[in-house]
């Protein structure tokens, strides 16, 4: 119980901190050019890493050979490219994943 409480407090503070950082440090001075450069290219980098991390622990050598995660992931991306509706993409991908892990 105390641990749950501590975790919520820490995650709350850290999340707020990440959102407040620019306002704390750069409300008067302009961010240095290098930071401005990083802020443009860090988001694609982080999202690539997070997608990679979601797949890195999957066993591709044992049944079902990672097929559910791979197929559902491709479907999510295609749905999003096609419809560009966050809800449709996530619900569709997750539903297909939930079905595949039960039937394969």
């Amino acid at each position: 119980m105390t641990r749950l409480f501590a975790i919520v407090v820490i995650m709350t503070l850290v999340t707020f901190f990440t959102r407040a950082v620019p306002f704390l440090f750069f409300s008067r001075t302009k961010p240095p050019a290098f930071l401005d450069y990083l802020q443009r290219y860090i988001p694609p980098v982080v999202m690539t890493i997070l997608v990679f991390a979601s797949y890195k622990d999957i066993e591709f050598t044992q049944t079902p050979f990672g097929i559910p995660a791979a197929a559902a992931g491709v479907l999510t991306a295609l749905l999003h490219i096609w419809k560009r509706n966050v809800l449709v993409s996530i619900a569709g991908g997750t539903a297909v994943y939930m079905v595949l892990i039960r039937v394969l």
Partner: protein, 251 residues
Amino acid sequence: MESSRSGKRRVVLAAAFKASIPVLLGYTTLGLAFGFTLVAAGLPWWMSPVMAIFIYAGAAQFMGIGLITGGAGLFEIALLTLLLNGRHAVYGLSMLEQFKSAGKWKPYLIFGLTDETYGLLTTVKPPAHVEQARFYAAVTALNQSYWVLGCTVGSLLGSALAFDARGMDFALTALFIVLLVEQVRAVQRFEPYVAAFAACILALFIAAPRDFLLVALLFATGLLSLLRPRLDGRKPAPASTQGPQGGGEAQ
């Protein structure tokens, strides 16, 4: 309450609600998935609304379930939250100007700067004669109410129904994929993706599994620094598509 004031409030709320409908659909659904996953992992149902109200970060909350049940240390939890939500600092950088005159709303606007709220605030315009900060605050508060609603109903349903939620945590992977597709639309250069992929492969061999995210991000940032002459040499043309990202870049 003065009638003109409450009338104006209605105008602001109506405009904010209309703008936030896509998030209403997305947040209630993803919140439901979160609530189900949380209860299925053995956590008490009320942790879902508590996390939605205070932490208010979808990806971090999903990750939090795994960290709580996996017995992660507090420092590790802080570090991973920092890494996962670091992208939000980037959003703030491009909202510095817009939030400058937000006054009393500013702390809440900053607190509520999620992926989707950022996307909305950079694309929608407040109605005429409405103070921008009030409109922003209304959009942010509505978005959070959708998230809290979804998370609460999800965990209540999850504890009431005998529902096999196995695999519902794929919603987090799907969310990352969606965000990546959005990035590919906004940043149409191949180098950052290749650099990140290379950093992941390196981290896979070098880092302990629990340090993977941190090490991969460090390598990738290093590679990005090396790529600066190449990427910055030509000013990146704003993506030609009307994406939700990149619209608010302060120049």
